[in-house]
Symmetry: none
Subunit: 233 residues, 2 copies
DNA sequence: CACTATAAATAAGA
DNA sequence: TCTTATTTATAGTG
């Protein structure tokens, strides 16, 4: 006696074997990869859209497909969210002092979170040092017993930060060197996967936006580090 | 399907009623909304991460929680993707800088050109992967014996690059985590989860980054970055 | 692209 | 948080 017999022999033919578990690692087969990209990308946008509606969050998603296409989702708009990100990350301080009065300006050279955070961390490090000094001084004018722990922790923090920062810089250097080496050694011919049939088609909800940027002209051969993409919109 | 269910005599006590279908509209109850935001936000990032790994896509996600917090996901880095988007959107270059902020020309340490190179390296890495893939696939439709050496070398290069990049990002993540920890511990009475302190960090795949930027990362005392972003477009 | 069986995500509870 | 029952997302196929 087995399950099958108990169930009363399902005579219906299985047309598919259903979903299979897959390992999360790069899909080697090109076609499968493209199909998966397509399905999952829309799934991702859908999830984002739901999250926006359900919670009122504001979200921007930028996707560069492996095939060189560009997809974007944004609520209320990609630009709004990115803009806030840049302004937030860069200088969180209010422009209470530095007047600038330009409503709309070009984006400075490609700086980025790295720089910004680097600066933020440096800044924090300075603050830490300062704070440590203060603590040290105030300790002098107190019984000074309560503080030892705090100071210790404080010191560690400062040192750790310093360590990270310098390691960071060092690593940077290595990457640069390595990059240069590689670029000299080879200039591989590029190839873009076979044609995909374009088309986005996503029923957007009320106030989010989604779009697909046309297969920007990535240099077919000879890689170009300049930005060979095109206009969007 | 199991014997019990077949027999129709499931004696197991139901402890919950399981997931319920919900309508996709703004969740009114504050607490429910926050919980949902939290769960779905991480679900979204996970999906994005998988998509990156599976297909090699490059993705950036920016999320403004209704509570005013900022979360970001990026592969290989938020910046890389945003920069590309920006450069596409207004495909023009600008080297405007100078201008205002004369206060502190304290240039960001050695980081200056870093992003450019990082992008270059990332791109090169992608090119390598693609090239390798092409080789691999063409090998399949050939006798496929001639290529092994080339592929091997190729692989080594890719791996080396990956190593550098991931190490870099990892280090970057550490700095961010550290910075955020410091800021949280000292400035905000945030709760600390068992696994992650302060809401930073996510240990998914090789070289994507995720982070949470606290509501306010304020410069301690008069600190000036010397330049600031503005509007885009 | 439609379909299905299965894997995953997740709404409620505890 | 962790658990569980369901709803969703999707891998493999035709």
């Amino acid at each position: 006696m087995n399950i099958t017999s108990i169930a009363g022999m399902n005579t219906k033919k299985k047309t598919t074997q259903g979903r299979k578990k897959i390992e999360i690692k790069k899909i080697e087969h090109l076609n499968t990869r493209q199909v998966t990209f397509s399905k999952r990308r829309s799934g991702l946008f859908k999830k984002a859209s739901e999250l926006c509606i359900l919670t009122g969050a504001q979200i921007a998603i930028l996707v560069n497909s492996p095939g060189g296409r560009f997809y974007a989702f944004g609520h209320p708009t990609v630009d709004v969210v990115i803009d806030r990100y840049l302004n937030n990350t860069n200088n969180n301080n209010n422009n209470a002092s530095s007047s600038q009065g330009s409503t709309s300006q070009k984006l400075p050279p490609p700086v980025g979170e790295f720089n910004q955070h680097y600066m933020a961390v440096s800044k924090e490090l300075e603050a830490e040092k300062l704070r440590r000094e203060v603590i040290h001084e105030s300790k002098a004018s107190n019984s000074g017993e309560v503080m030892w722990y705090e100071e210790e922790v404080d010191g560690m923090e400062v040192e750790e930060l310093e360590e990270y920062l310098s390691a960071l810089v060092e690593l940077q250097r290595k990457v640069l060197v390595r990059a240069d080496e590689l670029m000299m050694i080879k200039k591989a011919p590029m190839f873009l996967g076979p044609n995909m049939s374009g088309g986005v088609g996503y029923s957007t909800d009320v106030y989010s936006t989604m779009m697909m940027i046309p297969p920007s002209v990535m240099p077919p051969a000879g890689f170009d580090f300049g930005f060979g993409y095109n206009h969007i919109d």
